[in-house]
């Protein structure tokens, strides 16, 4: 499941620290909404929630940076950029490969059936 398009609302059930963690794992650009209402688009590549003053680090959309922004200056983070990792995990690859193999095997069986219709056919 991709978080692409998610606009989280920080509140009782979702903390900013949790949203930052999601953004850190996200392989796409996000829009950081600052506490003063201004926004910046960039790629969050680092965060330290255990620091005395927790912060995120990001490169902006032009690749400039790294910039550091404390959590206290962030209102929320919107997952606005394309998720470049969606569907590209190792697990997804294995599943895709298995599906392709099964499909190829099925095609081979179907091809063979013309010559040798066996009892396995329904």
């Amino acid at each position: 499941m991709s978080l692409e398009g998610w606009v989280p609302e920080i509140g009782e059930f979702l903390t900013l620290a949790e949203v930052v963690d999601f953004a850190f794992d996200y392989r796409g650009n996000t829009t950081i909404v600052r506490a003063d209402g201004t926004e910046v688009v960039g790629y969050i590549f680092n965060r330290d929630s255990a620091a005395a003053d927790p912060f995120v680090q990001y490169f902006d959309e032009a690749g400039e940076g790294p910039f550091t922004l404390p959590y206290r200056d962030i209102a929320t983070i919107k997952f606005t950029g394309k998720d470049t990792a969606a569907g590209n995990s190792w697990k997804a690859w294995i599943e895709r490969r298995e599906r392709e193999k099964a499909k190829a095997a099925g095609a081979a069986v179907a091809g063979g059936d013309d010559a040798d219709p066996g009892p396995h056919r329904g």
Binding site: G28, N46, T84, R97
Partner: protein, 338 residues
């Protein structure tokens, strides 16, 4: 085994010095990723999924050299992305060679023949060409037909110009031991100096039993491949690591053994997991919660991992940990038996 004597001596003296100095955590191989961009999009590769502005970024030569100096590891591996796409890769390698670092430039070799004039043959420089098996297997792994033949052409060109060339192979579930043995023959026929093997990394939240089977399958695969290893096969890596993959040794991960530096900084905790970045190598070593990683930690991301970047340094450390282990390594190296 095929590591040249001078390199063996360099590594051995370095490790012994670390042990004499009482350093518990020391780096053996710096993984220097100068860019994430690649000219392939191999399925299962987690290194290239970034927004465009990140893929366009290149590490400066100065930053790469500074990282190598700060880290101090005797070996620098340059993966990526595809390092040959870095605009200053020739200068970066030349500067590292000046520091007498043993540089392994990891490449898919698509651009190798074209870029060779940027480099000078040296005992310090090795092209480590990504080859995941015979033609059909490799082209499937990289999701493009013809790449195997391009890599072979690149290897031949590099060997022809007097460069050191090794191969690096990642093995996944379903690899055929028989075909891999044929592949080893083919690489030896080609004339490469040696081969490097590693199982692929898979992070899964599967139940324990499945994890266990995965590890057992890795042992079985490497046992089937490497039992009765032919004498002509040369592996450019620790024989104890290969025996670990065969299930003959039980090691714990040393994630600090192959620290990773890239355009984001020093990656915590290792080459495969990306859990944050430190600004300096010292900060990485001193502030990473190392106890959270490795099999014994219970971290599910580490449970199945048997990858070289976590365990080869362990094997090398083990070699110099006792006379028995040293003797075992020497014996395996001389006989070629695993």
């Amino acid at each position: 085994m095929s590591v040249p004597l001078s390199q063996m001596i360099t590594v051995a003296s370095y490790v012994i010095k670390q042990k004499l100095a009482g350093r518990k955590r020391y780096p053996l191989v710096l993984m220097l990723e100068p860019l994430f961009r690649c000219n392939l999009a191999c399925a299962g590769c987690g290194k290239i999924q970034y927004p465009a502005q990140i893929l366009r970024k290149h590490m400066t030569v100065e930053a790469g050299v500074a990282a190598a100096v700060e880290c101090g590891a005797p070996i620098v591996s340059i993966p990526g992305g595809e390092p040959l796409m870095h605009p200053e890769i020739g200068r970066l390698v030349a500067e590292l060679v000046k520091l007498r670092k043993y540089v392994y430039l990891c490449t898919n070799a698509i651009l190798l023949a074209e870029k060779l004039p940027l480099f000078t043959p040296s005992k310090y420089l090795t092209f480590s060409v990504h080859m995941d098996g015979l033609r059909e297997d490799h082209d499937e792994a990289v999701c493009r037909d013809g790449v195997y033949d391009q890599a072979i052409a690149g290897i031949r060109a590099a060997l022809g110009r007097g460069f050191r060339v090794t191969t690096n192979t990642t093995l996944f579930d379903g690899a055929s031991p028989l075909r891999m043995r044929q592949f080893f023959d083919e690489m030896m026929d080609l004339g490469v100096e040696g081969m490097m093997l590693s199982p692929g990394y898979s992070y899964s939240k599967a139940p324990d039993q499945e994890h266990f089977l995965r590890r057992a399958r890795t042992h079985q695969l490497f046992t089937d491949m490497l039992s009765n290893a032919k004498r002509r096969w040369r592996f450019n890596q620790s024989p104890l690591f290969l025996r670990f993959l065969m299930g003959k040794h039980d090691y714990e991960c040393t994630p600090w053994g192959n620290p990773t530096y890239n355009v984001f900084g020093w990656q915590r905790p290792c080459y495969l997991l990306q859990e944050g970045y430190a600004r300096t190598f010292r900060e990485l070593i001193e502030t990473t919660a190392w106890e959270r990683y490795g099999r014994k930690s219970g971290n599910e991301k580490c449970r199945d991992c048997m990858v070289h970047c976590g365990y080869e340094a362990t094997a090398v450390d083990h070699t110099f940990g006792s006379l028995r282990a040293f003797g075992e390594t020497v014996g395996l190296t001389l006989t070629g038996k695993l």
